[in-house]
Subunit: 385 residues, 2 copies
């Protein structure tokens, strides 16, 4: 049914009407006082979301642009880095690091498994000559629905004394607790079309004092993503290049809503939706792809045995106008993913589970009793209220 | 008066209601068929606007991102380039080239003067060993309101046989004739918040076959701006990274409007508004900053003698809610700039001139007879109808 689409993918996520109305306003001059006021306000709001005293810079570009900026502004040609890789985004940061001539040691985990913090500790402890300049990893691995133990890995990096962390928090920021200063995170990248509840086009980068020290030594070539220019402009509540003005309007409106809701409440909402989704899938006899206890608060990956996940996904879209995400690369057809990130309500979660259940039944693929999935989801939502 | 702002700066430019409504729609999945259809359609529309058979790629980022992409995807470390510099954007491309380790020979002209094509010809003819790999220049120099003779310079570059042109057409594309294929242009960069009539956040890059050949040899490091990834994705009507989905909605709506209007009509509209603005300024006794005959179709820079241009600009904003642009760098206070680019009507031009005239009078700075400026503008609009 046209214009009745519900997005339950890990981005773009649904956008509140209030935010769309802000987005659709007439643009204003990006060097005007009125726009400086918006930059100033959103900067403060972003600090709140990141739980940090450091500046959070806004870049017009995707989350990848922010991650690349974090990498190329703190490192130099030939620097050694540890890269965590347990999914598509982990893979991507390895590629970025190699594209810029860094020496990359990859710490892998199988897709669906979390990164093992002890492997990071081992590599860091063995690095007596302090060659490792950075540890690059993904907090919530969107491709597999796995959350990595960032807090523990960050602790090991701090014990190393020299390396900094560069973390993709694209689907964790605004979905679960990422207290940047408390965890001692150095570079934190995120993107607008996720927990932020606004359309894609903006990305965010927060850097610790240690990261800014590293930035002074960095010699990798850059211009559009040169954070020195962003920092200088930020002092004047401005941008070095023309920013996506209307997305800033949306950002301010969405952060206003998030602040009204409060951090605890935001995290609790995502936790409840994750648990309710998991309960529904299990009650239908479907297997979760992520290892037990390591499910992402943003997205649940489901690996239905003996079922073509793409066929199911397409049928749910066709019958119920709910867009689920498919599996990426070798997981295509084997996995589907339910985004419960951003502006998602209890109704959305209940509906998604009911729609999947109904679709499975209509395809003669439902093994358990019809209604069991929906009932388990409803029960979990009530239990965690 | 709140919410009654009229933008007459060189970007962001005013956005039509139809385009704002498209912008404010609920986002859809960027890997969906529905979005692929939009990418496919806008790609064709962009080719029409560029008058080219080559693909035009869309990047989420500012015009600077597109220009940087053009430079770093066609050149290699140590390559020699000629850079034209007769304003702030010319200066910027010199900085980008140097940031990436290129050997830069700068061909300068004083701010307000056009680049001299004969200087390019001389340098290119003297380059017997074909060391020059690219000529980088700005078509419409927004900081000074000067248009450079791109057609002639491109002809000289083609005669060289090896070098390619990399051109900032950010404020000329959609404002005046830039027939990419006919002029033999190799890399053409532009941005959304200009003649395109949509808010900032997208930029566009068209490359000739010669430029794609150069791309294969290029060794400068890149990832977010690696055009190889954009080209591969473009074959599937997709993007390598999550694009600004809502700005694509706006792009399609705006290009629909431009196609209805037709290229000839778009160019004539900008030409009339430029001439009418110039006539109004002259009739008020104000000097134009750009050399006679080299005014940009996008923007008119005015250098009022014995008048603080910033004071005037601020008073026009305060009294009449029209935002004009100020002078940049050493021109601050000496120049103000009237944008007549994008979604600008005869009424806007007439009103801008009348508001400036009225403001000058109220500040006791009007030398000529009150009404002379407005009358000259109205006459020119009628004459060029």
């Amino acid at each position: 049914m046209q214009d009745k689409l519900t997005l339950m993918i890990p981005g773009p996520t649904p956008v509140p009407e209030k935010v769309l109305r802000a987005l659709g306003k007439h643009p204003i001059g990006h060097r005007s006082k009125e726009f400086q006021a918006i930059v100033s306000h959103t900067s403060e709001q972003l600090k709140w979301l990141h739980q940090t005293n450091e500046d959070v810079l806004t870049i017009t570009g995707s989350g990848t642009a922010a991650m690349e900026a974090g990498i190329i502004n703190t490192l130099s040609h030939g620097d050694k880095v540890l890269c965590g890789d347990n999914g598509k985004f982990g893979e991507r940061w390895v590629k970025v690091a190699k594209a810029f001539g860094l020496e990359v040691e990859v710490i892998k985990a199988k897709w669906g498994k979390p990164l093992d913090p002890e492997k990071f500790q081992k590599a860091l402890v063995e690095d007596k000559n302090k060659k490792i300049q950075a540890v690059i990893l993904t907090h919530s691995e969107t491709s597999t629905g796995v959350i990595n133990d960032l807090q523990t890995i960050s602790k090991y990096v701090q014990a190393h004394g020299k390396a900094i962390t560069i973390t993709d928090c694209v689907t964790s920021m605004g979905a679960c607790n990422v207290p940047m200063d408390q965890w001692g995170l150095d570079v934190v990248a995120s993107g607008s079309q996720k927990g932020y509840m606004i359309p894609p086009g903006l990305s965010f980068l927060a850097m610790s004092k240690r990261a800014w020290e590293a930035q002074k030594r960095s010699n990798l070539p850059k211009f559009y993503l040169d954070l020195n220019a962003y920092q200088k402009a930020a002092y004047k509540n401005s941008n070095p290049f023309t920013p996506a003005v209307n997305l800033y309007f949306a950002l301010e409106a969405a952060l206003n809503m998030l602040q009204e809701e409060g951090l605890e409440s935001i995290y609790k909402r995502h936790y409840r939706h994750q648990k309710a989704t998991q309960a529904g899938m299990k009650a239908m006899g479907l297997s979760l792809f992520a290892e037990e206890g390591y499910g992402s608060p943003a997205i649940t990956a489901v690996a239905p045995e003996n079922i073509d996940a793409e066929e199911l996904r397409k049928a749910v879209k066709e019958k119920f106008d709910i867009l689920l995400a498919g599996g990426q690369d070798h997981l295509k057809g084997k996995v589907f993913r339910i985004g419960h990130l951003g502006f998602i309500s209890d109704r959305d979660v209940l509906t998604a589970v009911a729609s999947i259940e109904s679709t499975l039944q209509s395809l003669n693929l439902l093994n358990n009793k019809m209604g069991a999935g929906m009932a388990a989801t409803a029960a979990k939502l009530q239990q965690l209220e």
